[in-house]
Symmetry: C2
Subunit: 321 residues, 2 copies
């Protein structure tokens, strides 16, 4: 029987999962977001899907205790209101929690998508059996979440854990956020690709030149692939990305001292070679006055279900209060 519903609300797809009281995933589905239809229609479709899901699990709607949603920010999470999402323009100032709650008659809790994925990894993945964790999703940007003493760290206005925008190189490379020298401005997938493209435009030789010519753009995957094949420029860009991520781990350790730092997101498809270089640079940059023998840097283990698991964990936590 379904106790909790976890929703991973994305710009392209909405993933919905049904969980029992032990947080076992009973059933899941994914529907297109069709964000252009506007908030009411999208919410109605979510409600329909939840009702279908409940019936598939022989669960009377009444027995569902709470619903959790992970959504892109910025948002007023404690109030359950999406402020403005780049990929969801019609959802500006949408009280999504209240809309869902009114339709379902259930408590609905909203959090940042990176926080939800972080919590998912924490309860069911790489973070099992620890109490302090820092989580990074490496994609277009660098999302992050912090678990401190077993709980998500939210900050005074629900916008803590924006580690992608901590500055690692004062007055360095321009970031999309307006700051200079953010870790994201070097080490996200899009900035890794952009740094390669910029170097080529400046005249550097690289096997990526042909890719740029053929496809009109370079992806982070291209950079990593050509690095693996020995291209000098691609290798330098890849090393710089790993170095910034290593420094980000140093800073995360000095902030909240987690037992584990967990990387997730599209970029970790690069696998062990990337993880090994991040660890290498962490060890290069970390202080020498204390031996850091307790921190583990690793990849996420539960993949794309982290979002719905984390959202359901939020629901479970809120239902307990």
């Amino acid at each position: 029987m379904t106790d909790y519903i976890g929703i991973d609300f994305g710009g392209t797809n909405i993933k919905i999962g049904c969980f029992n009281s032990d947080m076992k995933l009973l059933w899941k589905t994914s529907i297109p977001t069709d964000a252009d239809m506007g908030p009411q229609i999208v919410v109605d479709r979510m409600v329909e899907t939840i009702k279908t899901a409940a019936s598939k699990n022989n669960t009377p709607l009444e027995t569902i205790k709470a619903v959790g949603i992970g959504a892109p920010g910025p948002a007023k999470y404690t109030q359950g209101i999406l402020i403005r999402c780049a990929n969801l323009p019609k959802f500006t100032n949408t009280p999504i929690s209240k809309m869902l709650s009114d339709s379902l008659g259930k408590p609905v809790i909203l959090d940042n998508d990176a926080n939800a994925a972080c919590l998912g990894e924490f309860v069911a993945g790489a973070g099992k059996n620890i109490k302090n964790m820092v989580f990074f999703t490496l994609g277009t940007g660098i999302g992050s979440g912090i678990i401190s003493d077993g709980k998500l760290l939210h900050g005074s206005g629900d916008n803590a854990a924006e580690l992608g925008h901590t500055i690692v190189n004062i007055n360095g490379r321009q970031c999309n956020c307006g700051q200079k020298g953010c870790s994201e401005a070097y080490a996200s997938a899009s900035h890794t690709a952009a740094r390669a493209a910029e170097a080529i435009e400046k005249g550097e030789e690289s096997s990526l030149k042909d890719v740029l010519k053929k496809k009109g753009k370079i992806t982070c995957k291209d950079v990593f692939e050509h690095s693996g094949k020995g291209d000098k420029l691609a290798k330098r860009i890849t090393e710089e990305t790993a170095e910034v991520l290593g420094v980000l781990c140093v800073n995360a350790l000095h902030f909240s001292e987690p037992e584990k730092i967990v990387f997730a997101g599209g970029m970790i498809a690069a696998g062990k070679p990337l993880l090994d270089r991040i660890k290498y640079y962490f060890n290069q940059h970390i202080w020498k006055i204390k031996k850091e023998d307790t921190l583990e840097i690793c990849f996420a283990t539960i993949g794309e279900d982290a979002g719905i698991i984390g959202a359901a964990a939020l629901a479970k936590e809120s239902a307990r209060i």
Copy 2:
């Protein structure tokens, strides 16, 4: 009547304060540490002082509920053991909590001195009535503490909140800790002075040259004073210190999103001119996608009593558990 004892255990002096259940300071004293006498004698003198303090407040020793100590790290705080303090060589691996507890028959709780001062400011100073705060002490090094959702953030091994060693300039200036580009390597009092001395040694012109000649060294205070008088080099060094502290505030905001960032320590004697420049650089470096109208950057308000107040607050918290 005294309910809690707060001890600020320093390399030179030990400050001891008596507090009632409302955390009102009833009596305080300071005794020389005389660290060379070794742990047992020092602890015996602390016990004597606590007994004297209790009698001065007409407090039978039995009514004291708990004792808190703030001491320099690194230490195993939860176990109450000092590992090694630079200024207390005879206190290596000293189980100070157990020694005091055995003598007094009271629970004794140990924490980092920066954490204790942070908690002191939080309960009785600049942090009153908020729930999230980041605290910096600007002295020889940069100490720090983080209050998240009303509680000190300790991390997995009691060594969280080492923000002075977060890297703001990848592969930048060498720090004493072994890392490169730490905020402390630029913006602590000693590194501010060192940067000025290095610039003069490289041949830069400055009114600080005479100070170096006369005193054989430059202090941070000298740099700030000569900056105020218009010396170009001193001004540049002062601005760089303020800029790094501004960036440290940006990073602290993106980590734990405090309502307030509070600066304490010897360096804040520089007053409003320094605070204004830190705020200026914070505003220069902070992102533009979200207006940061809620964060307040300010100086600590309770001065040198923060250590004993915070230590007593630790005692009160531990007694409640």
